[in-house]
């Protein structure tokens, strides 16, 4: 096996004058060096992105972000590959870089993509009713507006991205062991790129060390490794290091938002308006349904009754790494929820209202579901007031407010921050959702063996969410089996049905549904077989307590194991009925599912230093039917930690010339066990009416809902200083500066 290393650009924007790899090629342990020119000959120097743009695999003409791939060294060991990088001489002609997205559309801004006609503008997109919204604003008693930035961050799974590419030239087969959250989508991508048919490409994505959206895109390193394997005829392994991960793989967020909320004098929300500048980096490589260039941002009316809403999003290129959709964002719902929850808090402050009361006044009522929002989302089910009430009870909200008042009198500053979120997951109905033209329907294949054990093959791919358990439970529940008797197979394209993969919390809503549908098909086939075995009509059987039982004579019953044995035997079956107990399903979800929650975050702030300590985090989640509560809670625990990190310390930042200042865990700070309090979790259950078992999905909920709770908490703590808003990350310096700035205003 050979080992690859990527030479990356130190500059954010430069013309490539020459690349001289001769000294590297002469290194005794180096087998090959690929450059952009080499890949160009194979038609692989550029590749499509998931949203119809193109991205350089190895730069040919220009580099467009610091860390961009320039060359790929293949050597007999990893250390030598690293050494050889220093032997490649690249002559750059620096160009002025575009780093500040807010200047991207100015006439004299550097052009990032001179290979495209549109300059730095990627798209303009809008949703909602502009006229009605503007009218509502004009007539409103109160309008509160704010500029807020959702800073660039990075999912940073603990295992970085990597691949072993093994092209076997005799059979023309390509095998990839790959960190991929979407193996089948990747397989199709590589088929298009290399010209190999899909059945000669196998992607194995086994145990992944976390994904969080970082492992959805196809990265240049993967393609370079494939090209290197094809060129050398040997397996090539490439695993990125942490700085490469942070500097070049899919970042998240980076939304510059201006939001406004219009309300009556007594605090009823009338309308919401938002204008967003989206920084997409040097290539438009967001991973999201193709018809939604700003993802699901237009869900930004949140959980409240609003008459009208309108948003505009403009996407621009900058000289930074590509990405934008990652890190449990549910396709930009993190940004939308942050906006509406900050605005709601600011509205409460303006009106002198309690933020919990204001929310309660405006939350959608259970009888309004299914509810269509002004921006076109149909929320499936929810009892919002109940969830909020539960959270307030768990927190001891009134007692907290009393404590806050007492402490303020003593010069101590604590904050209580709320967040109520609705998110839409489980993309999605093929009618209007696709990625690269692939419908987002997922398959499940279920096979029950003669001895009654089952194997479920699914298209989604786990990175720790416990699919092996939850999917086994789903099938076991439908068939009266023990979950221990159901094996879940995933992550190998040779052994699993087609699907779009794991992200956007879609495993339970889509693939889980497919598994249930397949299991029910098996159960129905089993009914027919059982009818033959018991010599009754199929309609005379009912499924009760894990067995097919004769109506009126329940002791005459058969379980799936017995039926499976018979289905594989010489038992004569009726005409048209096939033997065995196998079934497949491809599930096209009729709608998204809409998990929601109410979060409360209590912080203590030291205004002398700006330090923030998160004291308590109360989280009530409703993800519909909870298949495995322990796993659900584990997902929420993580999302709350994400919120603390994103709100207080995580941000990918750059200097004026595009040097990434967050290229390691020394500067891209992640919360430790000391920053995360023991969370207090609660749950309500409002099943999804359209999901086969009523489950909604939970994976991203807490990452969506928690950052606004933390920020609202800190701003609440600083209210006595006149602070109305402060952008994330709320580092000690930023908190202190916010206090100073508010003081200067007064």
């Amino acid at each position: 096996m050979l080992h690859g290393a990527v030479l990356r650009s130190p500059l954010a924007h430069a013309r490539i004058v020459s690349v001289d790899a001769s000294a590297a090629r002469a290194h005794p342990k180096v087998v090959a060096v690929l450059t952009g020119a080499d890949l160009d000959e194979r038609g692989m120097a550029w590749m499509p992105t998931l949203v119809g743009d193109v991205q350089a695999v190895l730069a040919t003409d220009k580099v467009r972000f610091q860390g961009q791939e320039i060359a790929f060294v293949v050597a007999t060991d990893r250390y030598a590959a690293r050494d050889a990088l220093e032997l490649i001489a690249v002559d750059y002609e620096p160009l002025p870089p575009l780093i500040d997205a807010t200047t991207a559309l100015e006439p004299d801004a550097p052009t990032v993509r001179d290979d495209l006609p549109g300059g730095n503008r990627i798209f303009d997109w809008s949703a909602g009713d502009k006229e009605a919204t503007d009218a509502a604003f004009a007539a409103a008693d109160v309008v509160v507006g704010c500029d807020m930035v959702y800073p660039r961050s990075h999912p940073a799974p603990l295992e970085t991205c990597g691949v072993i590419a093994d092209y076997e030239p005799v059979g023309g087969r390509l095998t990839l062991w790959s960190t991929s959250q979407a193996p089948h989508a990747h397989r199709m991508f590589y088929a298009v790129l290399t010209g190999l048919p899909e059945h000669r490409i196998r992607i194995v994505s086994p145990d992944l060390g976390g994904g969080f959206g970082a492992k959805v895109p196809v990265y240049p390193g993967y393609v370079a490794a494939i090209a290197a394997s094809m060129a050398t005829g040997r397996p090539v392994k490439w695993v990125e290091d942490r700085s490469e991960n942070l500097m070049s793989t899919a970042f998240a967020r980076d939304y510059h938002m201006h939001g406004e909320i219009a309300a009556t004098a007594d605090g009823r929300i009338l309308a919401l308006r938002a204008r967003v500048l989206a920084d997409h980096g040097a290539f438009n490589a967001v991973a999201q349904p193709s018809k939604f260039p700003a993802g699901f941002f237009h869900i930004f009316t949140g959980s409240y009754q609003t008459k009208s809403a309108y948003c505009e999003v403009t996407g621009v290129y900058t000289n930074k790494a590509p990405g934008g959709v990652a890190y449990s964002c549910s396709f930009r719902i993190t940004e939308a929820v942050y906006l509406v929850e900050r605005l709601t808090d600011m509205l409460a402050r303006r009106l002198g209202a309690d933020p919990a009361e204001l929310r309660m006044r405006n939350l959608l009522r259970p009888e309004q579901f299914p509810y269509t929002t002004p921006s076109g989302w149909q929320y499936d089910s929810g009892d919002y007031p109940r969830a909020l009430r539960l959270a307030l009870d768990m927190a001891g909200y009134d007692e907290l407010r009393r404590e806050q008042a007492e402490r303020r009198a003593r010069g101590e500053y604590m904050g209580i921050g709320l967040s109520f979120f609705t998110e839409g997951v489980g993309a999605g109905p093929r009618g209007h959702m696709d990625i690269m033209g692939l419908g987002m329907a997922d398959g499940a294949d279920l096979r029950v063996h003669p001895t009654g054990k089952a194997v479920l093959a699914v298209s989604v791919q786990t990175q720790g969410q416990g699919h092996e358990t939850t999917f086994a439970q789903l099938v076991a529940q439908e068939l009266g089996l023990s979950p221990n008797d159901v094996e879940v197979v995933h992550g190998d394209t040779d052994r699993t049905p087609f699907g779009l993969g794991t992200y956007g919390s879609r495993s339970t809503p889509v693939s889980g549904a497919a598994a249930v549908v397949a299991a029910r098909k098996v159960r129905e086939r089993a009914r027919v077989v059982a009818a033959v075995m018991l010599e009754v009509a199929a309609d005379d059987l009912e499924w009760l307590d894990g067995k097919w039982r004769v109506r009126g004579d329940p002791d005459q019953a058969l379980d799936i194991a017995e039926i499976a044995r018979a289905a594989h035997s010489s038992l004569e079956l009726p005409a048209g009925v096939e033997g065995h107990l196998d079934a497949s399903a491809v599930y096209n979800p009729p709608n998204l599912t809409f998990p929601f929650g109410a979060y409360i975050c209590v912080t203590d702030v030291d205004p002398g230093t700006g330090e923030v300590k998160v004291r308590r985090f109360i989280a009530v989640d409703d993800c519909g039917v909870r298949i495995n509560p322990m796993i659900v809670e584990g997902q929420v625990h993580r999302g709350l930690a994400d919120g603390i990190g994103i709100a207080l310390m995580q941000a990918i930042s750059f200097d004026e010339i595009g040097n990434c200042l967050s290229g390691s865990f020394m500067d891209y700070l992640l919360p430790t066990a000391l920053e995360c309090p023991s969370p207090e979790l609660g749950a309500t259950v409002t099943p999804s009416p359209h999901h086969p078992v009523g489950a909604k999905g939970i994976g991203e909920s807490a990452t969506v809902g928690s950052p606004p709770a933390v920020v609202n908490s800190v701003v609440d703590a600083l209210a006595p200083f006149g602070v109305v808003h402060a952008d994330m990350p709320l580092t000690p310096a930023n908190v202190w500066l916010a206090i100073q700035a508010a003081g200067r205003k007064e």
Binding site: M649, L674, P732
Partner: protein, 296 residues
């Protein structure tokens, strides 16, 4: 892939042997102790020594003991040793305050006191702590050993007075009665390098400050010392007015730079705030008012 460049490796069996190796392979030889300052730099290829002289096998350099009225710390003592040392904590609460917030428990297991001091990172908490305590360093060289004040040990970022063929072997801290010390650091997260930090060691005679050391970390204080603030406090009554004024003086004289951790004005503010807080805490401890194990 962040891995070190090629390097040669020698193992020293004794201090003299180490000095010989350092001289022989000068100028490209570096001492390898815990490696937790040097190896990260080597992985990023910011440091590319030609020869590593591994001193971990040298016996008799890992100790923390009270000798007469001095606490003596062997240069190979690990951070974890210092944090766990009862005798160190009893006499110098500042050392435990600082160690508690240096890196993390696992890094503290292997990183050495000597290594951290010789790395001379401007953000090294112990450098300021030892400066506040007015300790001294014992440096062994080919001609024997010499003693250098902790407040003259660091000559600039990543620079000390230890010569190419010399080795730090011991740190000595004077134990004085009626003394108290404390350290506090503000960082973006647990285990992070400081945005700013201050350590104070004070000796009282009655109500008056008879001796004081103020160490500042990461804010461009020369030799990690807030000399002007120290001078102001000598002979003054230990009270709020003096503490606040000392904080202002310390803030005025340091030279923090704006960076990712914060702008200059914020760091100056931290110096003002933390110096005053640590004076308060050190004086309370000198008066026996707070148990030394409580956070400052």
């Amino acid at each position: 892939m962040q891995v070190p460049a090629q390097v040669e490796y020698e193992r020293a069996a004794s201090v003299d042997h180490a000095l010989t190796l350092l001289a022989r392979y000068a100028p490209g030889a570096r001492i390898l102790a815990g490696g937790h300052s040097l190896i990260p730099m080597m992985k990023l290829r910011l440091a590319q020594p030609e020869v590593l002289v591994d001193i971990n096998g040298i016996g008799g350099l890992r100790y923390i003991e009270l000798v007469a009225d001095e606490l003596r710390i062997g240069a190979l003592a690990r951070h974890a040793d210092l944090l766990a040392s009862q005798v160190a904590g009893e006499h110098f609460a500042i050392l435990h305050d600082a160690e508690r917030v240096i890196a993390d428990p696992v890094v503290r297991n292997w990183g050495t006191i000597g290594g951290s001091l010789c790395q001379a990172d401007p953000s090294e908490d112990l450098s300021a702590a030892f400066a506040a305590l007015k300790g001294s360093m014992i440096i062994h060289g080919p001609g024997g050993s010499r003693e250098v004040s902790a407040r003259a040990f660091h000559t600039g970022p990543y620079e000390t007075v230890v010569g190419q063929a010399e080795m730090l072997t011991e740190i000595r801290l004077p134990v004085r009665p009626h003394s108290g010390s404390a350290y506090a650091k503000v960082a973006r997260r647990a285990g992070d390098w400081p945005i700013g930090a201050a350590g104070v060691a004070v000796r009282l005679e009655g109500e008056v400050i008879a001796d004081v050391g103020i160490g500042l970390t990461a804010v461009g204080a020369a030799h990690f010392v807030a000399a002007e603030a120290e001078e102001f406090l000598l002979g003054r009554a230990a009270g709020e007015e003096a503490f606040l004024r000392a904080g202002e003086i310390a803030a005025a004289h340091c030279r923090p730079g704006s960076d990712q951790r914060g702008p200059e004005e914020y760091k100056r503010h931290l110096v003002r705030e933390l110096t005053a807080r640590m004076l308060r805490a050190a004086v309370r401890r000198a008066r026996g008012l707070d148990p030394v194990t409580a956070a400052p």
